[in-house]
Subunit: 645 residues, 2 copies
Amino acid sequence: MTSTTTTTAPLSPVAPPAGARRPLGQDEVRITGGFWGARQDVNARATLAHIRSRLESEGWLGNFDLAVAGRLPAGRRGREFSDSEVYKYLEAVAWEIGRRGDAELDRLFADTVRRVAAAQEPDGYLNTQFGRPGQAARWSDLEWGHELYCLGHLFQAAVARGRTRPGADDGLLDVAVRAADLICEVFGPGGRSAVCGHPEVEVGLAELGRLTGDARYTAQARLFVERRGHGTLADIEWGRSYFQDDQPVRDTSSLHGHAVRANYLAAGAVDVAVDTDDRGLLDALRQQWTRTVARRTYITGGQGSHHQDEAFGEDWELPPDRAYSETCAGIGSIMFSWRLLLADGDAAYADLIERTLYNVLATSPDPRGTSFYYANTLHQRVPGIPADPSTTSPRASSSLRAPWFDVSCCPPNVARTLASLDAYLATVDSAGVQLHQYAPAEIRTTLPDGRAVGFDVETDYPRTGLIRLRIVGDSEAEWTLTLRVPAWAEGATVTVKDAGAASTHDVPTGPVELRRAFLDGDIVELLLPMAPRFTYADTRIDAVRGCVAVERGPEVLALESVDLPGGLVDVDDVRIDTSAGLRERDGRVWARVQQLRDEDGSWPYSPEPTDGRDTADVTGEVPLVRYHDWALRGPSTMRVWVPTA
Amino acid sequence: MTSTTTTTAPLSPVAPPAGARRPLGQDEVRITGGFWGARQDVNARATLAHIRSRLESEGWLGNFDLAVAGRLPAGRRGREFSDSEVYKYLEAVAWEIGRRGDAELDRLFADTVRRVAAAQEPDGYLNTQFGRPGQAARWSDLEWGHELYCLGHLFQAAVARGRTRPGADDGLLDVAVRAADLICEVFGPGGRSAVCGHPEVEVGLAELGRLTGDARYTAQARLFVERRGHGTLADIEWGRSYFQDDQPVRDTSSLHGHAVRANYLAAGAVDVAVDTDDRGLLDALRQQWTRTVARRTYITGGQGSHHQDEAFGEDWELPPDRAYSETCAGIGSIMFSWRLLLADGDAAYADLIERTLYNVLATSPDPRGTSFYYANTLHQRVPGIPADPSTTSPRASSSLRAPWFDVSCCPPNVARTLASLDAYLATVDSAGVQLHQYAPAEIRTTLPDGRAVGFDVETDYPRTGLIRLRIVGDSEAEWTLTLRVPAWAEGATVTVKDAGAASTHDVPTGPVELRRAFLDGDIVELLLPMAPRFTYADTRIDAVRGCVAVERGPEVLALESVDLPGGLVDVDDVRIDTSAGLRERDGRVWARVQQLRDEDGSWPYSPEPTDGRDTADVTGEVPLVRYHDWALRGPSTMRVWVPTA
């Protein structure tokens, strides 16, 4: 929390007043295509309209109209937190408008805000589920009511709008400010010493405080973080750890309990630590991140091992078949990691963000952008049943993507993340620019000393490992361009080409700093080794002992039944022959496998350390699928971790 | 369904009119001590009183009084199925009275029946949760209401009483008959074509039909079995498979869905198949049993792999750390297996029953008989938190035994099973007597041809493997004594000693038949090899790949942290050295282990197939604990499956 202090906040979801790095906002980074550009296009073209259509047809937007018409609670539809999906949709639309402008979207945005704003009560309270005759009283069910949670999402939407269209007359920021004022009044010093069962208001208040400069919001976020862990919430079947009310944030050694709640809380706590220069709290959060990544995170970056309580398991409890790995937990992990990256500058945070982006965020939506994974299993034992597109899916554990869920937090969460993704690519500090994620992009910014610097990124990463940066504009003095060599990328090289010559160097993993007075047209090429590789798990992860995974670049691969050639029947009957290595052909990675006979058997426990089966004489080469592309060809079975032969 | 047809029903929970074997009832078998005798004593001395005390203090018995006083629903306490716990308690007490008589218990029994009977409505309806003003209508929530489920338990209690005290004037049988008549009226042919969300009424009706000779009850049980699987219950989050309403029983290949529901239904379906001589249905159930045992059963005999829906997982989905293995599912499995044994006579059913008795049923209650496991994990990663004895435990997944649960199905289920356990030891057919389970016992019965035969069993099995049978009474003609050599007991011998001489023979696993004209005082000794042994799992069980378990006789052993000597820290850091074998010393089994260093680490996935850790130089011998005795010495961690070195 030393080097930079910003004057104008970046057009970015997170804009801390201090920290090792300042994020570059939408006005400084523009993704121009590639893997993520294509997904942003689908998000803009299809997902936003899909979400709006469901918010209308499910009545979740209509709940606000009913509130205005005085027709609640009778006609209310959706779960107690359905308001939040409207707010996440608003946030997504705000970032999309910020990204490329769109008059029609702007009209829809204003229209939606009008309906929401009309439902706000005179004192600032806003929720369609509580407080009216026939409804439970305001703040009467903090464990499950999600009132503060919903408002946290409202604040994030208002911040998105406030940053991307400052001075817009839609009124969302006013709505947010009035709600935030009420929160400070009710839950502030001297008020109710309570917290919400689902953290989220903390990040919302912190960012609203940064946007408005109102220190009360920052202080209120801090109060909520500090209150947590003192058992103000009731005990429940899964214990208070479910909502992180079992131990104070600064005394916690690892993320635990409900995985989305845990990450949202941690993200808010980083905001609080940075805004109040609380190094002890930041240290605790860093340590939690490290231990969680070391012991409670799937190879995909996914988090959450329990279906029952959507929660982290104990250390090393990472079953692939019962992986919950909720899409929203992945997004929460990105939120937490990004805030630590801004505070510390450490490349390890960007490594996890990249892994989670490619293997959780990109896995959730289908290529049309209209159906989604809520949970992201790493092992599908039986082919799933396609969701009925005309209805909502009751099953978070659906093994095929579904258009909408009774609890539909994930689709709008994916949408807001994709719409704001440009703002997660790069940062600056006093020395120069740091590029964290690789996508075709135009980057133009100003260093703290006032110098304009810029470059374009050309790449089809992760299809290939070549990332070419073309400097735009001459620089009179030296500045440092920092590139991230991912931890998996042993053997990377950097080539710098200027008018004079080209020189190539091997570079280790981690940050690579290139300091020079770059001139317009200079080329920097980072070449990451993209050969597919076998990956083994720490043997303390019991559930995948004796197995291997295959990765290529930042992408996790999987064995999917629809790719099995004749004679091979089921992914669970296959053993991978690692001695045969991996081969790339026709744009796919191929592995050599043996098939075991699937015998009926009787009692499956025996005195012999064999599997009680013969290896069938069927062996063959099978292509692997990118994990984010699995289950796109109909019902199938799938394994990320495959037993070795 | 051929050989025997009984005239007088045995004093046994299950008394089929046909089948390969007739069970010997409480009047023919008496357990006189040993492992199970001690547990029956604790059950009689402590558990029954504990249950009654909780039924009173929790108000579940009081609900019946409130019904009589017209004070429902306001004062009702407990879950919607709490009536059933009262009925299971009544069943347990009835068997206990049958086992050894007890005037005080008899008084308590009559008193309880009086309170229950008073709440029955004029048309026979009996339930404290439904049907009154202010309550939901009768049969209006078949998915979750449990009305028929509760009555099924009532019928089993009435059958227990009717068999052990025929003609008793307490009136329970009348109550049951009136309720059964109402069920036949409401749900019979031409009535509502519906089933209960929780199977149980099927076994209850079938046995009540056997006791009373009323064929309508048998026919109604059959109707319920045949209706199931046609989607008359609503779809729910986990699908209709949760309550086995996704496919007809006779088209099902494996038990699936909620594990207690699945076993209760299967048990009732065997009853129906036997009573109606439906060989197709019986074949289907046999096949389901075989496949479930081969692919969906824990080494303990426990069943159910999911916490979320208390359900079976897919084939091979048997995680030890998230094993649910509900005590009641184990009891349901014994119910299902025992009925198939009576129908078929196959020793494999008794093998599974023995395994489940020692490793599920015996694990649930503590030695005092006043706290219980609901779920039975096979791997405890962090020490559990002791339950508050003054309250009910909200957590089925509690890692320490608890006195009572919000859903407290397990304690009375354990109690009724222990009280009737004598009736699960032996059977007869036209050839002779089959002894299935080994405990000190007196066995006196009559063969179908009218000859009296008898023998005493002397053994301290499973402490040692010697089971000595002493024939009581001379026999003029030959009869066959059949002993079960468990599948694990390779190398067993049988010695027959009569006045003349002694001869010893090696016997294979499975049934061993000794046919002769036994004389009073003849001795038959079965010697089972009790050396501890390593057991490996079929490698298709992903979750325990690379691990080994240790068993001794019918008992599964476990590594528990409280047994680790200095220098060894956590069961998860230990690897077992199978090359060093196992040793017995001081009545315990010892294994040689190595300890790995528990390093902090970072990202736990790497290109090298190592565990990223050095093996510490700490090696040592550790004693294993009988699984049913774990967690009796305070909070601890535990593994049944230990990785091999």
